[in-house]
Amino acid sequence: MASPTHLRILPLAEFKPAAASRAWVSIPNPNGLPLIATATSDKTVRVYSLRNFALHSTLEGGHLRSVRSVAWKPTVKNTGTLCLATGSFDATMGIWRRREERFADNDDSDNDDDWEFAIVLEGHDSEVKNVAYSPSGQWLASCSRDKSIWIWEEIGDEGDDEFETIAVLQEHTADVKCVSWRKDDGNGEVLASGSYDDTIRFFKGDDEGEWSCIALLEGHEGTVWSLDWEPESTSTEKDYSPGIPRLISSSADCTIRVWTKTWECTATLPKAHDLPIYSTSWSKKSGRVVSTGGDGKIVIYEETTKGRTKVGGEIEREWVIVGILAGGHGPYEINHVTWCTRFDSAKAEDGEEMIVTTGDDGVVRAWAIEALKPEPTVPFTEGGPAS
């Protein structure tokens, strides 16, 4: 049995300049570009550079109220255009584009165009809470206080700015707070949603393009604030192969639940928060989970092997807390947390990960992870610690 890891969460940098009011969420670019987009209550989105933690560009003038969420469009090949979708409390969504001829090594952005507010997507009756592109980039999902989820598809050529509504899903009985896509496993992409009605639902399109609810996950005793799918690479680890990726959910009931295969809750992460858990993120690199919320704590969990309880039995695993930091944004609530690849010059190796948090103070912070060496059990040196 491996000894438990202990991690230290160390302040790495603050993205500058910060917003003057609440920042909601920060999403790293999924296509390997050193950029992260932050949605704020000042009606803008700030795109920061991950190389130097400085402002890269700003999306402004498109929304009348808080920008609550932002999503990068995944691209298969580099077309030289960045594309972001935004969802706002003004009930609309925006599609934004920016020409970026080359992604320059220097950090200035002078030769590139500004963000263009390409098209506004209307349809929701009230605040749009979350927007998410499917991993293939084919679909865009949005959810709202109006209890509905909309699936949009971009038709025509890239840049034609024509969108079609593929489905309007109205199974939830209250605000839909979050949506998260599962990668296509050969049977199509699946959308998971979390709601103020305390439930999680899955939706999928059939061969005829009809979308319907395929699962209802009940168990939380409060609003489901965030969802994240198990990244592919963590399941190749050791002799554990779940086949179907698992889902984690965080809630106002102060729990984080792990849902498996037939969509039963198979684990609850150790309790560390005493206020709503607004965000949780599953690392592709380490398989660790990080969470944050109203109590301002940042908590890292790791799944460990307990061993077999009987010969030939299934290997038992359990989640343990391996790192915890209180007051990540001082006295302020933290609205979002995500794992993010490091691009700054101080990184130790390619692909090294950090944590990025987004707070009510308008600040976006980067945190480095440092493993603490286990205490030596037998002191060799003279004058070592007395036992």
Binding site: S21, R22, S41, R65, S66, R68, F89, E127, K129, R145, D175, K177, Y196, T223, A252, L275, P276, Y278, G294, D295, G296, A326, G327, G330, P331, Y332, E333, D360, D361
Partner: protein, 197 residues
């Protein structure tokens, strides 16, 4: 539309907690009074919903911690959206229903204080319970330092839809969106006016 409660019971001033007496005592003790500072600062502010950061007030380091009475004083004068009367005189806000849980270590800026305010609606079907609760939550969030986590609930057995109202008032995102709604904000501004007088 008729009023939900046309003849609410109104408490006389002598039945209410004697705030003024308390103030006098405080001033005599020559200590800075946090809430008074705040109210004075608010008078200069054009927008009553400006974010204020009490922890940055100029008072010296020996400021005494905020107590239930001061929290009560912040919300007691809020006026009812239906009657031109204060929440304290209608018995909606009661001193004994203001609860405060302070951390042991006050020097740690990340240590959180928890405030729970239980409201007693004038009638059990009061349709404005959510608006009143929102007013109380917003008033406290904007007047108290950022390390205070405010919870506003309807007192048990006093409202037919208490659970729904409580869940709404606890939802940060709904509260944030409500504050960007101009119609609702103008109602809240009217309710808050007496707090600034």
């Amino acid at each position: 539309m008729g009023l939900d409660n046309e003849n609410p019971l109104i408490l006389s001033a002598s039945e209410l907690p004697t705030r003024k007496q308390r103030r006098k005592n405080k001033e005599a003790s020559s200590k800075q009074h946090i809430v008074k500072d705040l109210l004075n600062a608010k008078l200069c502010s054009a927008d009553p919903f400006d974010l204020s950061d009490l922890s940055n007030s100029d008072s010296d380091d020996s400021v005494e911690p905020i107590d239930e009475m001061e929290i009560y004083d912040l919300i007691a004068p809020i006026s009812d959206p239906e009657h031109p009367l204060s929440l304290e005189s209608l018995g909606v806000v009661k001193l004994q229903d203001v609860h405060l849980l302070s951390p042991n270590d006050l020097t740690n800026p990340a240590a959180l204080s928890r405030v729970l305010v239980e409201l007693t609606p004038t009638v059990s079907h009061c349709s404005l319970a959510t608006v009143i609760g929102l007013g109380v939550r917003v008033r406290l969030e904007q007047a108290l330092p950022p390390s205070y986590r405010v919870e506003v609930k309807i007192k048990k057995n006093t409202h037919s839809q208490a659970e729904e109202v409580n869940k709404q008032l606890a939802d940060k995102e709904r509260v944030a969106a409500a504050l960007e709604n101009e119609n609702l904000m103008s109602i809240l501004r009217t309710m808050m006016k007496p707090c600034l007088e």
